[in-house]
Subunit: 230 residues, 2 copies
């Protein structure tokens, strides 16, 4: 994610499509490690951006998601149209973790440190009740771990009113940029500009109880743990 | 962004397309305030997600951006293909600020507090040198304020190697969810689950100087200020 420079930068691209994965048999351990990196990026992110094509134009919407092995489960974020458009048609799900801003000696070499995962595929609307429950549970447990068993679970009616999309993690790529700025040698030697990295952190604040809750209600452990994770 | 429930939730949708804006003349102050909300969401976000259509399929990539009045300037994030695809074809640029996780008494009512802006339009590749410089400056100053004047500015060659897209903020919508969970009354009365909000914060850490910098180099004010902004 260069700010001003060209699109060539020190990122590692790990294609995870079955074709690429299945080719280098001697590097099966690398295959695992690539998949592990995909899982790591997906599992750390709180939201994803779902892209669909509606009437020939792209629509990108933020939404919550969860993962069960090699299946991504999504809940429609804003309007059933994206869910309907996503069913049986090509979608793209992108997850981005912004780690740092990279200040270089030249404007051209400014960049950002990040980890992103891009998943391409054909999503399917989940209709089987058991899979729907499992998918929803994955979404809820990904975003608010512990909530599935703590809160009241969905009724049949609620479940029917809920749309869930499933997307196989078959065709995916991970990009990672990390480390200090990469400047041209004359710029380094000139020594006229500061260069370095300003890291970004996402943290959870103190839980704010619902005003309708009795004042002495204790915050349960699964909510307190959420804060410790960050 | 409900986690498990339906797609209807207490969000305010503010269409900002010219048609909608121009219709209610008596509410010109609302038009201004909607535009101000759009600006506020865009100006606070560090990255956006750019959606384009490539060979009939959506592609969503993270990228840095900047704003000059009612024009969004984007720098291609990963591969010139997205920039080329974006030129003269429909694009969608989405920006999302995740403010809190919303723990409800029922799984169905779990949600997230967020502010998002979705911009639709036809992007154009910026070719005019002056506009390209202005657009790049907007991107750099949006992401790393103060860097444009502090760092070495682009050479002609660097500028030629840089792709910049411009997108008018003509058709855009803002969605905001805030506040406590909205539960069904029987769930509130049952009193068996905790409910509330866990806020999320993004902050900047201490600047980490480039290892090639002389050890006694002071961190300049514009970098130190970045941290204070969060």
């Amino acid at each position: 994610m260069p700010l001003a420079g060209p699109t060539i930068e020190p990122v590692s691209i790990q294609p995870l499509s079955p074709t690429t994965r299945s080719t280098p048999r001697r590097h099966s351990e690398r295959g695992r490690s690539e998949r592990a990196e995909l899982y790591a990026v997906l599992d750390e992110a709180l939201i994803c951006h779902l892209g669909v094509v509606l009437d020939g134009a792209p629509v990108v919407l933020p939404t919550c998601f969860g993962r069960l092995d090699d299946t991504l489960y999504l809940h429609g974020s804003s309007g059933a149209s994206s869910l309907r458009a996503g069913h049986g048609t090509p979608v793209c799900v992108t997850v981005t973790l912004l780690d740092a801003l990279v200040y270089a000696r030249s404007v051209f070499s400014h960049s950002a440190n990040y980890r992103s995962a891009v998943v391409h595929g054909t999503a399917r609307a989940v209709t089987d009740t058991d899979e729907k429950l499992a998918g929803l549970r994955a979404v809820v447990e990904h975003t608010t771990p512990g909530s599935w068993l703590h809160a009241r679970q969905p009724t049949k009616k609620e479940l029917a009113a809920t749309g869930v999309l499933a997307l196989d993690l078959a065709e995916a790529s991970v990009k990672i940029r990390s480390g200090p700025p990469i400047d041209e040698e004359p710029d380094v030697e000139a020594g006229t500009s500061w260069a370095g990295v300003v890291p970004l952190r996402t943290s959870f604040g103190a839980p704010e109880p619902c005003p309708l809750l009795p004042p002495d209600t204790a915050v349960p452990p699964h909510v307190l743990r959420r804060r410790a994770v960050s």
